[in-house]
């Protein structure tokens, strides 16, 4: 008995050495009954005091989902998922509606402190003078537990709150936009999300407003056997600007957990949304046991003239990542950008990229993808550039670079280009390289340890993307790339 315990402790310590966000918080939680049925959907909707129309929408999605099949075209091996063997709702038992942040469960507060997420405004304010403020919506399993700086944002007219609250407080806006960019029947995982989405963030930036601070949502999965289905909706009205950041971590568990999010962005005339993600869900252990299945649908509608959406993602976590943040460039002169670093190590699999759908005249898009594969992982860039028949003078530039560490990993590039208008200018560049012995020795001969040398070279490789991130995030992302590769060389 004690041997087993020792071994467990040893294993846990070893794992914790490489994934420092893998702790579990001991919090009393309330769950939906295990499994998925119409009752589950009703339970979730009821927990959130949703109006009838919302429940109907969810049920419609659920019935649709029953008829659908999981996509199998990605270059991934996904073990069968038993959708009845999971919980679809987990929430801290303490009451959700807090009069102030002081009422927050201290254990949850400690969790976010450990993660380094500022959910206390005074802490942010007490920080270094001149430090930029970041407003945070903290989502813990299925519910939003804290949203900061609401008052200050309100003064600017910015709406920033959990989507559950938004459904109750701003029903017209939600009905107008929810499911408009990612339709309920879009794909298997998006449809599942539409049925059981638990929480997430709603942002509205009014006409002409430049959001006075960065907005961010921090997602934390804590409960075991629980799926997280968050839903984010951001609407940027005419001439507005917002920069939004998203971060995610989860405890280390031996079983897999499903994360199926939907993110919808809408940019009206001259509006700009900058959406940055640092995804660091638990990737599983070195043998591929455990880890998050990250099956996410993210899409932006650049509806207005000269609207712009920029996706930046740094993907280092998750056992399996299936994700294609996309832009529908409907507005004339609209701009879509996709900057991505996807790093896979050990047994991780990633199939990620973007879709740039050009419908508007003079619309432009830029795609820069940097894939880093190590261990026995598989890393695929999959991207689509489509130009519609009436979209004149479209321009796209795509660059896909892959970096390999070791000789047991895979890097794949699958670009699809569909052009139906002869005035389009499409450029595609791709490279594949390995970290060379020369580079490693050169850096080490100057005093860098092997791990630091690898981290430095990889960060250099990813620089074009990292420099798109807000500064605080860029620093975190740089460290993350180094940590995620520990033990991958030598």
């Amino acid at each position: 008995m004690s041997d087993v315990r020792n071994r467990e402790a040893h294993d846990a310590a070893e794992k914790a050495a490489t994934y420092e966000w893998g702790f579990t918080s001991d919090i009393e939680q309330e769950f939906a009954p295990k499994g998925l049925s119409e009752d589950t959907v009703r339970f979730i909707s009821g927990k959130k005091n949703e109006p009838e129309w919302m429940l109907d929408w969810r049920l419609k999605a659920y019935r649709k989902w029953l008829e659908m099949r999981a996509p199998d075209w990605a270059k991934m091996q996904v073990p069968p998922i038993d959708y009845q063997d999971a919980y679809y709702y987990a929430a801290p038992k303490k009451k959700i509606e807090l009069a102030s942040l002081d009422e927050l469960d201290p254990e949850i507060r400690r969790t976010y402190e450990k993660l380094g997420i500022p959910i206390e405004e005074q802490k942010v304010l007490a920080g270094v003078a001149g430090a930029r403020k970041v407003a945070v919506d903290a989502v813990f399993d299925s519910v939003s537990v804290a949203t900061t700086f609401r008052e200050e944002l309100k003064k600017a007219g910015v709406i920033f709150l959990s989507i559950s609250e938004a459904i109750r407080e701003y029903p017209e806006m939600i009905r107008k936009w929810l499911g408009k960019v990612v339709p309920m029947h879009d794909n298997y995982f998006a449809t599942l999300n539409s049925a059981v989405f638990s929480d997430g963030t709603f942002v509205y930036i009014p006409e002409g407003v430049r959001c006075p601070m960065e907005l961010s949502t921090y997602f934390r999965i804590n409960a075991a056997n629980t799926g997280q289905f968050e839903r984010t909706l951001i609407v940027a009205d005419r001439g507005s600007y917002v920069s939004y950041l998203e971060g995610c971590t989860a405890p280390m568990r031996d079983e897999n957990q499903l994360h199926a999010a939907v993110v919808e962005l809408v940019a009206l005339d001259d509006a700009e949304i900058k959406y940055s993600t640092v995804q660091n869900w638990y990737p599983g252990d070195s043998e591929g046991k455990g880890g998050i299945y990250n099956f996410v649908t993210k899409r932006a509608l650049c509806q207005g003239r000269n609207s712009k959406v920029s996706w930046t993602q740094v993907e280092t976590g998750s056992a399996i990542t299936w994700k294609y943040p996309s832009c529908v460039l409907a507005g004339e002169g609209s701009v879509g950008e996709f900057y991505s670093v996807a790093l896979t190590n050990n047994r991780q699999q990633a199939d990620t990229g973007t879709k740039m759908i050009h419908l508007g005249k003079n619309s432009r898009s830029t795609i820069v993808s940097k894939g880093i594969s190590a261990g026995r992982s598989d890393n695929t860039y999959r991207g689509l550039v489509r130009v519609g028949p009436t979209a004149e003078n479209v321009r796209n530039f795509t660059q896909c670079d892959s970096l390999l560490l070791g000789d047991q990993c895979g890097a794949h590039t699958v670009p699809y280009i569909e052009v139906r208008n002869p005035t389009a200018q499409i450029e595609h560049e791709a490279t594949t390289s390995k970290i060379s012995e020369d580079q490693l020795f050169y850096a080490m001969s100057r005093g860098l340890s092997q791990e630091d040398a690898v981290a430095l070279i990889v960060n250099g490789f990813a620089r074009e993307v990292l420099k798109q991130l807000p500064m605080e995030f860029a620093v975190e992302a740089q460290k993350l790339l180094g940590i995620s590769l520990e033990g991958s060389v030598g």
């Binding site: 020795f441 050169y442 080490m444 001969s445 100057r446 005093g447 040398a453 960060n459 250099g460």
Partner: protein, 247 residues
Amino acid sequence: MLKIDNLHATIADKPILKGLDLSVNAGEIHAIMGPNGAGKSTLGYVLGGRAGYEVTEGAVTFDGKDLLDMGADERAAAGLFLGFQYPVEIPGVSNVQFLRTALNAQRRARGDEEMSAGDFLRLSRAQADALGMSMDMMKRPVNVGFSGGEKKRNEMVQMGILDPKLAILDETDSGLDIDALRVVGDGINRIMRKPDKAVLLITHYQRLLEIVEPDFVHVLAAGRIVRSGGAELALELEREGYGAIAA
């Protein structure tokens, strides 16, 4: 400072160094000359600690410590600098960032405090100025798009910043025009000609030795030092060729 005793080394089981002896004291500049394929670059790599170069026999001590037991990064922290014949490009990593990371890694390994960003910038500016390199180039990715001469100059800037005890410079003069040779040679003298430092210059030609005057010249042929002498030996080599002397 450096003591090499009966050094044998192989690459992929092929013997390259076959019983090399050499002793370098503080304050000395040694030149190693010799024909192609004699093992000059191999000597540099073996001393630098490159993977794939296997020492099969012999010993090397650096300040009394077993050099061969140390990793490449530990050798750097102990004060050894290897100037590359073909400096390597590292895309996306600026010279400044690279050197600051390296310098601070060395300082940490020695138990010293890290250098602040401000102090480092002053130091790198001074070293770049002394070698006629602009700060603009210091901010560019390491060696990317640099000409052959700029790369060699950059090696000297790195040496100036890292301030080693022992520099092993592998054909630092190759690919340099006369003016650049002068700049690089002056750099070596300025940085390394000090009582507590030493240099091992690996070169083919006499011309660098006119600027950096060696205290000792050694001829390396077929994996061993076959002859040693003073600065005049380099002139003799230039006149007679390696054939006559190594024979």
